[in-house]
Amino acid sequence: MTAIVRTLDDVLIAPAHPGRGATQEYFLNMGPQHPIAHGSLRIILLLDGETIRKVIPVPGYVHRGIEKMCEHLNYRQIIHLTDRMDYLSALMNNWAVARTVEKAAGIEINDRIETIRTIMAELQRIQSHALWWGVLGMDLGAFTAFLYSFRDREIIGEIFEEIIGARLTMNYIQPGGVMYDITPDFADKVKKILSYMKRMVEEYDTLLSGNVILQERLRGVGILTQSRAISLGCTGPVLRASGFAYDLRKVEPYGAYEKAQFDVVVGTTGDCWDRYYVRIEEMRQSIRIIEQLIDDIPAGPTMVTKFNTKIKLPPGRYYNHVETARGVLGVFIYSDGGEKPYRLHFRSPSFNNMWAITEIAPGWRIADMIAIQSSLDLVIPDIDR
């Protein structure tokens, strides 16, 4: 057996004309510039009329070689690159690298840092899911949802801006702590946001979830069974919607998640509707987590290492992961003992989730493709890295 290397041209073989009276299949290029691409994702569809026969994703339009860049930066400098992978859960990406480095270097993190990290990460999860909700609405034609979600994102963005100084690419969670301490009125402001977001999630339900058109569009569409989801390496809400309760916050609690009571939300069938509603419920669970943690943030320093000390990992292989808004972000570091990683690899959730469309989309229509892709909640820079 030998390895046969192919090119895209080998895959895109024009279907033969089936003869008179039959329908001819054709290729349709969806992206890289397409409203559904949410960035630059090219998906080639083989269609029969409007029915999808085959899906060929062609990622790579936002590939920046972050892993190569990381090999030239020290462990503190890597953090800012992770902001730019899954920009909607930048803090959780920061946390993934910080956690791996801390565990490898043996840096003990105090409770205050862990609690602040958890609260911030959960705030961002709400923000990320809110944006996803709006984008799903927009993809399915309800543009108003998009603007409502952006309005709510701003509210959370403002608290980030106040504590961290940035809204999107924050570089906040660093090995050994967090960049800034919280402000004294942080708890009050967050509580206000939570009570506001609670109302807004209800509103999301009124505007879209309850809407019969949306339910018709999502229910029963694009079913991903549990065994396939596991084999495909799907994680996060996509896997949980298929009925498997794999949530790192619960399975191997990190941060302050152990201190909080919350449920892992799972779906029953794994269709688009489950993926939709799992995320809506997760917003509620995130609100729950923050509510439990916000009142007693322990005292202590917010940075346990000095910024200018070099972090050196003992030689070895380190793998650690956190649950981002999209799934499991794993960080694999191979260290040769220096202050820079010899090899650093990100197991990004969107990259693995994306390939589920190749399995679940065939047989559905173009319009369902939109719903399926939206419900997977892909962030293209996270796929391409």
Binding site: G137, G141, L214
Partner: protein, 370 residues
């Protein structure tokens, strides 16, 4: 001069005199007056198209903005009132890109056809007793026929662009608009049964003692709802905007259109919305008839003081607002769901409604006096 005079003083009870009537009457006595009326009609329809385009697009953006907690256009002119003018200028100045492998003639003709079909409808709508270009005695049939032509423009545009997205959009449009035409026509027929005439002016005048939506023993209300749903589909607006479906088909049939040609498609969409609202107002909401309540003479007198043209515009504007409200609330249906809604739900209801209306009219079994 009597034309101007009657325009200001006309009441609901006045006799209907269309511009065509005036031109015909003047043909023997004063040919120039006749020509003046014809020119007036042409210019009037042209101006109406342009003004409607500007106003409706502005209204759409402003209303969309307020639905979405935004302000809408605010930059060009006070409260962005000149935004549409600026956009029109932009579209006029833009390069007219035609795909190399497009069918040039069809590609050119499609937007014109689309706009023509909608503008032709404007000619028979009774805006007020004396503001109507011509009152065809088969008016509503003419409206149905002409608006059916619009699908040809969209289909041609989708086909001639030689783009797969456009083709899919065009095919979706054809399937959708032809299907929903049936439901729209069925609900129109109910009104024709009650009014006993196909003339639009005749239908308006038949509602002197009350609007059909109330008076038709429930069948009017059902027909109204069906008509609104069907015309939403016919004018390609959310939740039935699948021929465009900008997040699915990147613009559908007008993917390959730019500049002025795109403006034509855009304009025809908005004129279409006005036409559909105007027809609905005419058929179900009494057209230019004021709102009367039996027995409340003072109230009726007050409502008669409002000019009929304003009544008509008010009703039409209300319906247009409803269309916009739909658009900025609902997600879009899928192609097969759309067909299911039409063939399995709307069409049977429409038929039953028509039969019910026919039975009521035939047996004269009125629950309350018509």
């Amino acid at each position: 001069m009597d034309f101007i005079y009657s325009m200001t003083t006309c009441t609901a009870a006045a006799d209907v005199i269309t511009l065509a009537d005036r031109a015909a009457a003047a043909v023997d006595t004063n040919i120039w007056l006749s020509i003046l009326y014809m020119v007036l009609a042409l210019v009037g329809i042209g101006a109406l198209t342009a003004v409607l385009g500007v106003v409706l697009i502005y209204a759409e953006r402003k209303i969309a903005g307020h639905f979405q907690c935004r302000l809408g256009p605010m930059r060009v002119g006070p409260h962005g009132i000149l935004q549409t003018v600026a956009d029109t200028l932009k579209l006029l100045l833009k390069e007219d890109v035609v795909p190399a492998s497009a069918d040039k003639a069809m590609h050119f003709a499609a937007p014109l056809m689309s706009l023509m079909a909608t503008v032709l409808v404007l000619g028979v709508i009774p805006y007020s007793p004396i503001l109507q270009v011509t009152d065809v005695n088969i008016g509503i049939l003419y409206v149905t026929a002409v608006s059916g032509l619009g699908v040809m423009g969209i289909l041609l545009g989708g086909w001639s662009s030689n783009n797969k997205w456009s083709l899919v959009g065009g095919m979706r449009a054809a399937a959708q608009m032809i299907s929903y035409e049936i439901s729209a026509t069925l609900s129109v027929l109910v009104m024709v049964l009650f009014a006993g005439t196909l003339s639009l002016s005749g239908i308006v005048q038949s509602q002197e003692s009350g609007w059909w939506i109330w008076r038709a023993h429930g069948t009017g209300l059902v027909a109204f709802v069906i008509f609104i749903i069907a015309s939403t589909a016919e004018i390609n607006r959310t939740p039935f905007d699948i021929p465009e479906g900008e997040s699915e088909l990147t613009g559908g049939f007008h993917t390959e259109y730019s500049g002025l040609r795109f403006a034509f498609f855009f304009l025809s969409e908005f004129i279409n919305m006005f036409a559909a609202s105007a027809i609905a107002a005419t058929l179900f909401l009494g057209g230019w008839m004021p709102f009367y309540i039996e027995g409340f003479e003072t109230f009726n007198k007050i409502t008669s003081l409002i000019p009929p043209a304003l009544w008509f515009l008010g009703k039409t504007a209300f319906l247009i607002f409803i269309f916009m409200w739909f658009r900025w609330t609902f997600p879009r249906l899928r192609v097969d769901q759309l067909m299911r809604l039409e063939w399995k739900i709307l069409l049977p209801i429409g038929f039953i409604n028509l039969i019910a209306a026919a039975v009521i009219v035939l047996t004269k079994f009125y629950f309350f006096p018509v």
